[in-house]
């Protein structure tokens, strides 16, 4: 495409200029910087989306790595600024394939070795509450249709605007807003039915 050609042309010009100046070509460092930015800016987000799709922690790890290796191979085709959209779309496909291949759904709360905490020094009670909350969220999201659980997670967990959600999902803004409304209603109904599993301050089950 034109964008791709322009991008490569600009890289070649930059490299040639720096070569004659006796410096290392900027293209190499630029590519590495872009790859590092992909990981730093988007890895956690993509990993969470894969978890919200119903993948077990180890499956989400493998799937996330697969998503980013695909992005590495296609980096030149990714429009600068559109990395998140590319990664999200790839994650949906990779996650769907992984779910079909997975032999069990996420229901196992024993993911303490794989899901890291923001504050590892948190007291044990807080850690337990967090993990119970994650487990309950996974269970409730798994009870929703995929198109509703995704928009709900993007809105409530990632705190994205409806317009950004629509762009990621590739749907009109009105459709995204409608799905989000339905998702919130359904999630609320499911949560009320699961009040006995409140992870905060009570024993679950």
């Amino acid at each position: 495409m034109i964008v791709r050609g322009r991008y490569r042309h600009s890289l070649l010009v930059a490299r040639a200029g720096l070569l004659f100046k006796g410096l290392a070509p900027a293209g190499v460092d630029g590519r590495e910087a872009r790859l590092n930015a992909l990981i730093t800016d988007h890895f956690d987000f993509i990993w969470r989306q894969l978890r919200h799709q119903g993948l077990a922690p180890h499956d989400a790890d493998d799937a996330a790595q697969q998503v980013f290796m695909i992005a590495t191979q296609k980096l030149d085709d990714i429009t600068p600024g559109a990395e998140r959209s590319f990664l999200y779309g790839t994650a949906l496909r990779v996650g769907a394939n992984r779910r079909r291949a997975a032999k069990r759904r996420i229901a196992d709360g024993d993911d303490r070795t794989l899901d890291a905490l923001v504050s590892p020094a948190a007291p044990p009670d807080a850690e337990t509450e967090l993990r119970r909350a994650w487990s309950l969220l996974d269970e409730l999201l798994a009870s929703l249709p995929g198109e509703l659980s995704r928009v709900l997670a993007l809105a409530e967990v990632e705190e994205l605007k409806v317009s950004d959600i629509a762009a990621l999902e590739g749907i009109p803004v009105g459709t995204a807003a409608s799905r989000l409304r339905r998702a919130r209603e359904e999630f609320g109904r499911l949560l009320r039915a699961s009040r006995h599993k409140n992870p905060f301050g009570q024993d679950s089950g």
């Binding site: 790859l35 990993w47 504050s119 990632e158």
Partner: protein
């Protein structure tokens, strides 16, 4: 508080907890290493080819200039010069006459003729030294290992592959890292490749693939091996990669 309000509050708490969910640093950093390995080789190769071409052109230019300069300063050899040439006179090597021996180095002779010194060792004192068991080495923390491999990446970014390899040896032999060994292996493949040890890099990448066949990180190693094979074939069409 109504049921709806309490449900909304519970939902907010659950979503707030979900925002604190993170993948492990190990997974994240191992993915980063694999991505850089899969991508970096191609660009390093392109850069090397560009520099090699530039250096070759510069070398040719210098050679031409030198040859032209020699032609201008070196006088032509005339026929008279050739006819007047005589070989240099050289001194014959000294050879011992009958009955004469070449003197040996005096120091050696002294050592052979003098009686050996008698070394008197003091009687060992009676004390028993108990060898203390070495204190167990504390296992490096994940942050130690991440920091160590960050320094490796910095060295690679600064095009100092030798330094990167040295740091990786320290990671293995001094720090005894255990949590990021996959990432360290991929970084070593990259460092070996950048330092010109392509064969060693390929062998290490293949061992990583054999040990981790299903790992997505192996994709980076496979891409590297395939590229190395393609480059070797392109450079020498009649031979394959060993």
């Amino acid at each position: 508080m109504s049921d709806d309000d309490s449900t909304d509050e519970l939902a907010r708490a659950i979503f707030e907890a979900a925002r604190q969910r993170r993948p492990s640093n190990t997974v994240r950093e191992a993915t980063r290493a694999a991505m850089l390995l899969a991508s970096g080789t191609r660009n390093v190769t392109r850069r090397r080819l560009a520099w090699a071409g530039l250096l070759a052109a510069a070398a040719m230019l210098i050679a031409v200039l030198v040859l032209r300069g020699r032609e201008a300063t070196t006088p032509a050899i005339s026929a008279e010069d050739v006819s007047s040439w005589r070989p240099r006179e050289t001194k014959p090597l000294a050879t011992p006459s009958a009955g004469e021996t070449l003197a040996r180095p005096s120091r050696v002779e002294d050592q052979l003729s003098s009686p050996p010194r008698q070394v008197v060792r003091p009687r060992a004192e009676k004390h028993v030294e108990v060898e203390k068991p070495p204190e167990p080495r504390p296992a490096p923390s994940l942050s130690d290992e991440v920091g160590a491999l960050d320094r490796v990446r910095s060295a690679l970014s600064a095009n100092d592959a030798a330094r990167a390899l040295q740091l990786l040896d320290e990671y293995d032999g001094v720090l005894h890292g255990t949590k990021l060994t996959a990432e360290a292996t991929l970084l070593r493949v990259e460092a070996l490749s950048r330092s010109g040890q392509r064969g060693a890099a390929v062998r290490l990448a293949r061992r990583f693939i054999e040990a981790n066949p299903g790992s997505p990180l192996a994709e980076g190693a496979r891409a590297f091996v395939e590229r190395a094979a393609a480059e070797a074939t392109a450079a020498r069409p009649d031979s394959g990669l060993q």
